[in-house]
């Protein structure tokens, strides 16, 4: 066994996951082969809204190789639906925040109505996916078309067709929060502006689609489910409940998962249907989603319309902020109020805003359901807030960076009570950080504002339009309710850690090995990490919301403390000294100050075993293992400032990103290489979201992006090089001082890029307050206006130029 050489935390260790992934020896759900496995294909609705009169499966069922053809009408008799929400808000929240929720329960297959194009109506199980699709093409649907509701505003209008008749409303939910007195502060503000901001519908679009396989074991009346999911314990919980089996008989495992980003972060109907089919047929069943299905049935995201009013003073300080927004939730609402409440909680960002009122409504429409995607409500909030900052700056003739500085919470005001609750029901307290310094770092990295303004003026003389845009945000990370770790010392001396967290590429096998190696003074190679398996730990939350590093490191820390106590008691017995005289070192336990007096962890673990002639002192029971669930009091706050320089071609509307910098703080960094990878990946997704990616619907509820030819995922040619600079203000809220970083990169780019484009085109006096910002829109916006040689003072109203600053 090799020596430990702490500290490993803070080092850019290369990943242990890489070898198998680089050599094609990863195991993704589509790679899983089970004996006598059957393959499923779903029949999905071609229309957005209809009553299901009949589903004729007879021809399909007769196709050679088909084992079963099943429709919603039959399934509903055997299986209850999914619960009305999978991500509940705690009573601390529900008792303090004004809200109402009306959430439907989604069945495994639609039976009464279809409510979006792509909703599953029937399933075919056959000897091959090819045969299953042949049969699926022979299913005939008798559907009575109903009018499609394709906008959130239309959904909430009186007399709108109801998506879920029994709810008697298309409003899945609503809530409102207030701080201070917005009405009087707004009325008394020297200046006010009002805008609508629309953050459009786009999605996570991982390169691996979804997939579920299930195996029923008659001998033990147990089911194993393999799912490309971020939340194995949720899947286990829901499947057990719906199939009427004890959780102990249901195991859910996630293998290698090819990207999640939130879209694989809840339980889908397919997660229920496939295990049901496996039990019913007595043969393993596997379903691999294809890309077309993915676009039509894997959750979409964003899609929020905000009406914002800001009151501010002559110095650009924001005195009051009111935001009323609607979220277009699509036909179902699996995770309830989580995403829109994130929007509300993150709206004020790093700014001191004493008077705030946010109200939100979530609307049902005939579209794919809307859940969390990297950022999960924060990009929408940041887009609105950061555009407001730039608009305030424009009204007053100030540099947007300066308006940010004037509004930012100063480091000496930390920890800062924001005056509203987080979705965990706790008052928001920005625990640590230096927001103005982060902004300054970003501006320095971009070369400084003044230098940019000089360059901008020069380029304009040559007919080129460069712009600078900033996006700042704060992010609550490491949310509860809990995460667990089991820490065990094996008789070989290795440290085994298991948890309900799961990886979709974040490198968890590596970073947790680093953390455990430091905690136990062993080499990372002597740490074995087991994730994403409900058999490895009884309870788990899963990976989403930038939480795993924070919550799992704390759980590991606390579990390790208990195990260490026991290990020292046993080692003390073996070394005949007091436990207080011991320390962990070099893969063992040794007497402080006496280099030779060590006993290896292997020996300690062997001595811990039950049986005759064990090595434990009296009063110490057998085993060297502990499971601890860490329940964080509340979240810890990361933050960043993004700055972008764009080059806009007003003739074609093309936006080129000339420079992109990220100044980021996620506290103590376990592995800098991996942290930068997360930031880069998130940023690329944010850039794709604002410039390229779109999920548009037509008036009949047909999704106009049916393939990756339409849904434009950025290629390497579309993403710029990125400069990253870091601050490290450790979190005071967990033992390692870490903060989450998984989502952050995707939060700021839409704001930064939109601000940059508006800055570039300020001579034309145009505003872009919605996404995506496409070349055609830019051309349309600039064509009627001729660029003025000198920008004129701004008139009140929708459009208008920005006075040049600095």
């Amino acid at each position: 066994m090799s020596e430990g050489r702490a500290p490993h935390i803070g080092r850019s260790l290369l990943r242990r996951e890489d070898r198998r992934l680089l050599t094609g020896r990863g195991q993704f759900i589509a790679d899983l082969e089970l004996p006598r496995m059957l393959h499923a294909a779903f029949v999905r609705s071609p229309v957005a809204h209809a009553r299901i009169r009949a589903v004729d499966l007879s021809v399909a069922a007769a196709v050679p190789g088909v084992a079963l053809a099943l429709g919603g009408a039959h399934l509903v008799q055997e299986l209850p639906p999914l619960p009305d929400t999978q991500l509940s808000l705690p009573s601390k929240w529900t008792s303090h925040v004004e809200h109402e929720f009306h959430n439907p329960q989604q069945p495994g297959l639609a039976h009464d109505k279809v409510r979006h194009v792509g909703e599953a109506i029937a399933v075919i199980v056959a000897e091959s996916r090819y045969a299953a699709e042949d049969a699926a093409a022979l299913v005939s649907l008798d559907l009575d078309a109903l009018p499609a509701v394709v906008s959130a505003e239309a959904a909430l209008a009186p007399n709108a067709p109801l998506i879920h008749d029994h709810l008697r409303t298309n409003m899945f939910g609503a809530f409102s929060i207030t701080k201070g007195n917005v009405n009087s502060a707004m009325a008394g503000a020297p200046h006010r502006l009002q805008r609508r901001f629309y953050h459009h519908r786009y999605a996570a679009m991982p390169i691996e689609c979804r997939g579920v396989a299930a195996l029923y074991e008659p001998r033990t009346d147990a089911i194993t489910i393999w799912s490309a999911t971020q939340v194995v314990h949720w899947v286990r919980r829901e499947v057990a409940a719906i199939l009427g089996m004890p959780e102990a008989r249901v195991r859910c495992v996630a293998l290698d998962v090819g990207g999640g980003f939130g879209v694989k972060g809840h339980v889908y109907p397919e997660d229920l249907v496939i295990p049901f089919l496996a039990r019913r047929l007595g043969r393993p069943v596997r379903w691999i989603e294809d890309r077309h299905e993915h676009l039509l049935s894997a959750a979409h995201s964003r899609d929020q319309l905000h009406e914002v009013e800001a009151g501010f003073d002559d110095d650009g300080r924001i005195l009051a902020l009111r935001d009323k927004f609607i979220l277009d939730c699509g036909a179902w609402n699996p995770i309830g109020g989580g995403v829109p409440y994130n929007t509300a909680a993150h709206l004020a960002g790093p700014y001191k805003i004493e008077n705030l009122a946010v109200s939100a409504r979530t609307a049902a429409t005939n579209k794919v359901p809307n859940t969390a995607y990297r950022g999960a409500g924060r990009p929408e909030a940041v887009f609105a807030m950061e555009r407001i900052i730039d608009l305030v700056a424009g009204e007053l003739g100030l540099e947007p960076a300066e308006v940010r500085r004037r509004n930012m919470i100063r480091p000496d005001a930390m920890p800062y009570r924001a005056g509203i609750l987080y979705r965990d029901g706790e008052p928001i307290v920005y625990d640590s950080g230096n927001y103005p310094a982060g902004l300054q770092q970003a501006l320095d990295a971009i070369g400084g504002v003044e230098a940019f303004r000089r360059r901008q003026r020069e380029m304009r003389r040559e007919g080129r339009y460069l712009g600078l845009g900033i996006g700042c945000y704060v992010e609550g990370t490491g949310v509860g309710p809990f995460e667990g770790a089991t820490v065990r010392i094996d008789p070989s001396g290795r440290v085994y850690v298991s948890s309900g967290a799961s990886s979709q590429g974040q490198g968890m096998e590596t970073i947790f090995a680093q953390i455990v190696a430091d905690a136990w003074r062993v080499a990372p190679d002597d740490v074995v990490i087991t994730l994403a398996d409900t058999a490895a730990i009884p309870a788990g939350s899963g990976t989403f919301a930038s939480r795993s590093t924070v919550t799992l490191s704390a759980a590991i820390h606390h579990a390790s403390e208990r195990v260490r106590e026991k290990a020292f008691a046993i080692a003390g017995n073996l070394l005949e000294c007091a436990p207080d005289d011991l320390e962990l070192r070099d893969g063992g336990v040794g007497v402080v100050g006496v280099p030779g007096a060590t006993v290896s962890l292997a020996k300690v673990a062997q001595a811990a075993r039950p049986g005759w002639d064990h090595g434990r002192p009296p009063g110490i029971d057998a085993g060297l293992e502990e499971t601890r669930y860490w329940e964080p009091q509340t979240v810890t706050w990361s933050y960043a400032a993004h700055a972008a320089i764009v080059d806009v071609d007003p003739e074609t509307g093309r936006v080129a990103i000339d420079k992109y910098v990220i100044a980021h703080d996620c506290g103590v960094v376990v592995n800098p290489l991996l942290v930068e990878g997360q930031i880069a990946g998130g940023t690329a997704q944010g850039i794709g979201g604002v410039l390229l990616e779109e999920l548009p619907y037509d008036s009949e509820g047909q999704l106009l992006a049916g393939s990756l030819a339409d849904y434009l995922v950025p290629t390497a040619g579309d993403v710029p090089d990125m400069t990253m600079v870091h601050q490290h203000t450790p979190s005071p809220l967990n033992p390692l001082g870490v903060k989450g970083v998984g989502e952050g990169g995707a939060v700021a780019p839409p704001a930064a890029i939109a601000n940059a484009i508006c800055d570039a085109l300020s001579p034309f006096g145009v505003e872009f307050n919605q996404t995506p910002i496409k070349p055609e829109q830019i051309v349309k916006a600039v064509r009627p206006a001729r660029p003025s040689p000198r920008p004129s003072p701004r008139a009140r109203g929708e459009g208008g130029t920005r006075a040049a600053g600095g």
Binding site: R129, E133, P696, L704, L712, G717, K780
Partner: protein, 292 residues
Amino acid sequence: MKPAKFDYYRPGTIDEAVVILERYEGDARVLAGGQSLVPMMNFRLATPAAIVDLNHIPRLSDIAAADGVVRIGAMARQRQIEFAPLVAERLPLLHEALRWVGHLPTRTRGTIGGSIANADPAAEIPMVLQVLGGEVVVRDLQGGRRIGAPDLFLGPLTTSLEPSEIITEVRFPVMPPGTAFAIEEFARRKGDFAIAAIAAVLVPEGERCRVARLATAGVGPVPVRLREAEAILEERGLGEAAVGAAAEKAAELVEPMSDHNASADYRRHLTGVLTRRAVLKAIKDHQHAATG
């Protein structure tokens, strides 16, 4: 998405292939590069009863030049053409255009005949065929014929080919040495189909322009020559005003379609912008080549 079943044929000659096509009376499709056909089949938007695989017919991918004509076998891969010295030398516009066609791995399989037969309105190769005045050689049971670019493209994804006709060769007049040329394309991402593209081929004579050819992609149901815009350059030369006027005329001439990718208005606008840029680039590159 998996394709529906089909009968598979691997003929060793064009004659065999044509016989099979005839037999299936329009319900058989020819498989060349597969880069357009197979995605359609995977979506089950195309469900031919039979596939006639041309990939094993010898001598269908030769590239040769004689008598002022470059002859490229229909099954020549785009990648092969991209790196053929003969093409770089005699048809530099085609060489240039191929950089815009998809990505290197799609050019590994995609063929010149396949791209032309597919007749996507936003594809670059049909635009090049149009601007250079090329033609295709086509075979069927009765024998064969030649179809020039203007008579070949009828509408989006529609050519004048009969269901049992197969393109065997694509022919282009050699571009005379000293020809100026350029392609300007606007697509959302490099490698995507063009929202608008212009190919410009000019024979400058000092400030004058002896010959001007302009063709489009993406801004109409088929690639078209912009003859009235060409005439402006041929009459008025290559100065700033003339180029501007030709660009404005080009924008008037096209009949673009609106779809969820781009509106007709925007495509029309891009036509003007890209025409001006293509002509200016052609002139500039030509001057560099002349002095360099």
